[in-house]
Symmetry: C2
Amino acid sequence: MNKATGKVKGRRAILIGGVPMDMDNCPVRDVMDHIGGKWNSLMILMLADGPLRFSELRRLIPDISQRMLTQTLRDLQRDGYLSRTVYPTQPPSVEYGLTHLGRSFLAVLRLFVDWSVENHEAIRKARAEFDAPV
Amino acid sequence: MNKATGKVKGRRAILIGGVPMDMDNCPVRDVMDHIGGKWNSLMILMLADGPLRFSELRRLIPDISQRMLTQTLRDLQRDGYLSRTVYPTQPPSVEYGLTHLGRSFLAVLRLFVDWSVENHEAIRKARAEFDAPV
DNA sequence: CTGGATCCAACTTGATACTG
DNA sequence: CAGTATCAAGTTGGATCCAG
């Protein structure tokens, strides 16, 4: 997907378990395209326990660049996962927190996280076996 | 992530809800990197009702290129989600089906799919509101 | 039929410098 | 403090041709 234009490349309708799925406007792809980024899910997890400020997030996630932090937060806010509150202090401070939608998604995300942790070893094993020179 | 080398770029350890998470070897990112591709999840959904052959998958998913179909199937097989069975016919036919791990992941994936369908409208609405010229 | 190999355009991310 | 702008580099996915 092209995040700049919002346009997607030609997808048509296909059947999933007999249910027609419009590939040009697929909810699953739409959600996945927007939370599948490198930092998006992590951001939601970081905010699970309460709102944090821009600088706090940058400190908590040392590897993220300023640019990606800004972009990730704006994308998540745009899709309704995060709320953004500006406090008119000097200098200004901005706080980000999960919305109702964000907390709703957090539940699904946590299942995914749990599954990943539980099955990571099995995956690594399968991978090693596949890569084995035989 | 670099799929060729398997190397990841410098990620360190951060805290998620007080729990240290090794960013250089994060199970969640590892799983997400490998099933977050354009076709991977769709492939698992397509095989939910039983094994399918290469040519059947290509027919059922018209938009996928031969290259991506091959690559997606191999990636999923490598990670243990799919099994690959070759029938020594002439010409050869190959059947792909979900493994136990694949079916296990399917359950999580279905929750994600359901959530996406349920909340897609809310997301679209939030997006439109955010983009409103105001 | 089921792939492998190559080339290439688009998209994503990072580094760095600058601003209200 | 919380961003924006610009440039550089890496990855992904698609088109096409070839092979067992």
